[in-house]
Symmetry: C2
DNA sequence: GAACAATACATGCAGGTGCATCTTATGCAA
DNA sequence: TTGCATAAGATGCACCTGCATGTATTGTTC
């Protein structure tokens, strides 16, 4: 699909940028659509086949590792681009796989803390190079033209 | 979500672009994720509420108008980021709404031509300003810094 | 022409997502 | 304390998507 996609920096250079014209906006949108589609498909395949993780599952683990502490569901909502209900289910799946655990928050018993387990850290460490490889493959055209 | 998202051109300027380092790639990915999520949600809401179209439906109509001729399902597949099966169903929905019609291809009776109807053109013309407005709203931070 | 692989599209099915709603807990006011 | 609005998170439901497969047609090889 869209093999002749113009790199975004070229889109941004080609037009009259002072005008913020429609063509520029639409080209940028098509760039985002194409890269998103390509990356999501590849991540789904690679993370799934090699590590048994979906992109959403990986992203949640990644956020947990990044913050390195227990997080409220709502805090995760701010960082992962999922609805609260979708996130709730992702956490449920991760918990069933023993990659995170849910702990009731004592200060506010409505709330739930999500804690990454050792198995979760291990799975994330294992999957991280795969994710980086996929992204590098897909976005390697992005900065090149800025330095060429 | 991610209100403090760094514009992509800043991401591309900030790092050592010669190195294509991981941080750059990941920041670019997060940019794509954030913009895609924001735009898709907004398009789903605005196109849906105001014109009774989903993003995929609009995109197919848009491609039809752009090419201004009947297209094979497979041709559309190359342009819209959907699987063949998903596209088949989008076309079915559009046909049920009388916005396109399916015509068996005489030269190759396995194939199907998709033709946009007058109602389809009208609906697209009506929805186009909405789509452009949404995209402009979301991508207006993108080029500005290049000219400031 | 017969047999068989390949192609174009449709469809059954499983899975993920968002919206609306439910449940439980908190906070605040009377 | 009681009553009610609000917040956190879970869940029913409808919808969309991709994968695998089915159906019809075409091309190819013998």
């Amino acid at each position: 699909m869209q093999e002749n996609l113009m790199p975004l920096h070229e889109i941004w250079r080609s037009g009259n940028l002072r005008d913020m014209d429609e063509e520029f906006v639409v080209d940028t949108w098509h760039y985002v659509l194409a890269k998103h589609s390509k990356a999501m498909c590849a991540l789904e395949r690679e993370l799934g086949d090699r590590h048994g993780l979906g992109p959403s599952e990986f992203e949640v683990l990644d956020r947990m590792v990044h913050h390195d502490r227990k997080l409220r569901i709502q805090e995760l909502c701010d960082e992962v681009h999922l609805s609260q209900s979708a996130l709730s289910r992702v956490v449920a799946r991760l918990e069933k796989a023993a990659l995170v655990s849910r702990v009731v928050c004592d200060a506010d018993r409505r709330g739930v803390f999500v804690c990454i387990t050792e198995a979760g850290r291990a799975r994330h460490a294992e999957a991280l190079p795969t994710q980086r490889a996929v992204l590098t493959e897909i976005f390697d055209d992005a900065p090149a033209a800025l330095t060429r």
